[in-house]
Each structure stands twice: as structure tokens, then as C-alpha cells.
Symmetry: C2
Subunit: 270 residues, 2 copies
Amino acid sequence: MRKVQKNERIGVISSILTDNPNQIFTLTHFCEVFNCAKSTISEDIDVIKEIFSNYQLGTIETVAGAAGGVYYNPLMNHEQIKNFTDELCEIIDHPDRIIPSGYIYTNDLLYSPQISKKIGTALASLFNGQEIDYVVTVETKGIPIALMTARALNKPMVVVRNQSKLTDGTVIYMNYITGSNNRIKTMCLPTRAIKKGSKVLFIDDFMKAGGTAKGIIDLMQEFQAEMVGVGVLMATKEPHNKLVDDFKTLVWIDNMDEANKKMHIYSAFK
Amino acid sequence: MRKVQKNERIGVISSILTDNPNQIFTLTHFCEVFNCAKSTISEDIDVIKEIFSNYQLGTIETVAGAAGGVYYNPLMNHEQIKNFTDELCEIIDHPDRIIPSGYIYTNDLLYSPQISKKIGTALASLFNGQEIDYVVTVETKGIPIALMTARALNKPMVVVRNQSKLTDGTVIYMNYITGSNNRIKTMCLPTRAIKKGSKVLFIDDFMKAGGTAKGIIDLMQEFQAEMVGVGVLMATKEPHNKLVDDFKTLVWIDNMDEANKKMHIYSAFK
């Protein structure tokens, strides 16, 4: 068998790392794949680290020690998030998207694999370095961006539902009050979905008064889990006082004017 | 500026293609990125094509002509799908997963970014080469694998809901009868979600009698769209006569024995 060339190894390793964000691969694994020495793989990783940095593809991180290895963090920097959210605002800011009752149609964006992946990666980047065990969302529209956030962080996603299904097994049910219009709603989650003592990140597509996020905080307490972050795609400027103190949004919405089909939507990044 | 080396170009192109399944990049795009000749990029692509094939990372396809370029198809071959579904069956086939009423708990698998990505890529591989405009699913549990199927195919996902929301705008509502227990349920979809004359692939996590898939076929007719394929993660052997004739499943479930917490679950691939 001919020796595998350096550019071949670099291509394969770059593809595998990119395809598996935040998964650690041991150097020994790649030694076996290419039948070569550890020092050779080490040199390859150094090249990959540099090119990922130079071409802003995210970062390649190495972990020392017995459980050590190399992994890909699809981190977007401030400028990349700003550019992406600016583009997104331009797409969202269209009169056709304003629907009766003053909401914005965003299904096509949230359900686009390309866009949801970028939103998820941007949201994951905002919580980079934080200890997170689960990415929690509530059905339905937030699921794709929560899944893509979970993919970027390589953590399991958990979906809170409004009604439980037979396949959920035993669930914890909770009533909560929506912040916007004071309606009573229910949310539920299988008892086995989250381990005690976990730290969770809540991801959703939209926040107005923050009632859902507040509900999730309360529900997490039933699981003896702690909410360590809240990230949303879009948040409204009003009401200013929301039911959760601390959250991050990619995009702000202000001055929705349904009658004139106008709104002010802008990136949260300058 | 120093000349970019071949192994650097191959690493960057491999990463970008992997990260964007079924998206065509022009060779000119990469020429600009690296400030080099088209013939150079052509040679790089040849190397990448070969290593992706050798290491079974999917296929690199080139498209000739004005709109031409190169793209990555994350195609799994028969053996890869078989190995993956065998592993999956081993994980699913555990007494703890059988919950009262004879259902199987799979939320943790469906909501895992790693596993849902593999399921989606496997399902996409089964419909490789077919003309598809949208990947359609019905809320809630099928969404992650449908999104990952849509990602592999680079097509938009559409989520049919049981109840419409304010943010859906105008919707088409349809009543349908579940195949398993003859209950009347509703499904709805925003009128703007699917263009007339589209071809859609329906993806779901589970099929028993096929009532949901049949409902989606009927709903698609309201949109003058055609269902060209049905793919599910798991299907039950019984009832043998399902409400849809033609579907593909990754895994079969047979002889569910709730009392003894036993089931027979096996890959659809030999």
C-alpha cells in the first residue's frame, strides 16, 4: 500500500472534524486511519489549525492528556455574526412577511437547513465556553435552530411539549402563564429527559414578554436542573421589562406597525 | 503574500464542501479565495474526489457548464447504512425503552444531533438522485431527522402542524383519520409554505398503519404538490397492509410484547 500523502491526510481530517463539531478525536484514531506516526498527525493538525483560523472556518482545539485529542469548534466571531444577522434582517424586513395580528412569517427561514444551521452556530458561539449539558427548546418552531445549536455544541437537545404523547412515558406537567396575553398554557417533559443537577441552555425563535422562558426556568427546577443561558433569534424591544433578566438575542424588533406593514428590525451586533 | 500551499487549499476546500452538503461552489469562487488558477483548483478537486471516495466520506461531484462547479453529496453506501442501522437497533432494543401501552421511548435518539444527523443522511441516501423540492414532516418528533434529511439534500423543510399558530398566517386545514385507532385528527400548513407543482419527500420517525403519511398525500394535493417518496426511521411489520403502498424504512419492529418488555427490532438492510 502506498504511503498516504500529506495533502490527502489534511483533506480527510479537515472533513471529519468539520462534520463532527465539538467531538474529540484521538490522534491515535487518525494514526490508525492513515497507518502513520503520531508526530505526523500532530504536524497535520498544526497545519489544519492554522488554515481554519486564517480562513475563519471556526477553531481547531487540541486537548492534552489521556482523554486528549483534537476537535473542531464551529465558532463564529463577532464580525461573522454581525454580517450574518445583518443579512438575515434584510431578508426578514419585507412587508410580505407581516401577517395579520402583527406577527412576522419566518417559517421558511427557521426551516431552512442552511439558515437554521447558521442561526444555531451563531447562538452556540454566544455561549461558547459555558458549561452546558442540554439545549432545551419548546415545540415547534424553535426546534430546528435549537437542534443546530445543540449540534454546534455537541450536546443533546430536549424538546418541551405543550401536550404529552404516549411515546413520552411518564411526564412532568406544568401550567404557566404566557407573558404577552396572560393565558394559561401547559408544558410537559418526560421525567427521563433530563438528569438531576444538569445545566441547560434554552433556545427559542422569538421572545416578547419572556413568559415561555420563565416557564422553562420553573420547569427545570422540577428536574433539579439549572438554566444557565437563554438565547433567541428575535426579541421585541417592548415590553422592556421581560420576565427573564438575562437573555441573548441575535436580532431586535421594534415599532411593529401592522397597518402600514412596517417594522424596525436590526442586528443586536454592531 | 506567500503562495497558499496545496495541502492548505485541500484542507479548506474539504472543510467548506463538507459543511455545505449539496451546495454548488464554482471553481472561480475557490480561485478567488486562494488567488490561484482554475487548473490548480481543478487538480485539488481531483485529489479531494479521490480521498472522499477512498475514505467513504460521501462523494464529490462536479457539474460542467456555466452554472457548474463542485459539490459534496454526503451519500452513505449500503454497507454504511447497514452498519449504522444495526448499531441503532442495538441501542433501541432495550427493555427500559418499552413504555406502558407498548410504545418505544426514542426521544433521546431523535433529539441527539449526532444520531439525527446520521438518520437524516441515511434517509437522504435512500432517495438520492430523485427530484425533490421540499422535505415535509409533521410535528414534533420527526422534525430533527427531517431537518437533517433536508440538510443532506439541501432542500427546504416544511413542517405540517396539528394546530395553526398566529405566525402561520393563512393556512389550509385538513381533517384525517389516523390509521391505527381511527381517531379524527387535523393537520394544517400555511398556504405559502409550498409552491404549486412541487415534488415532496415525506419524512417521519414512525409508521404503523400509515394514516399520517396518507393524510400528508391528501394535504399535498391541496397544494397541487406531489409526494414522490416516504421515508421513516421505524415501521411496524403489522398491519402488513398499510395506507401507503410505497415507503422506505431504516428499521423494522416486529412482535412487540409489552408484558415481557420484549420486541424484535432489526435493520431493513442485509
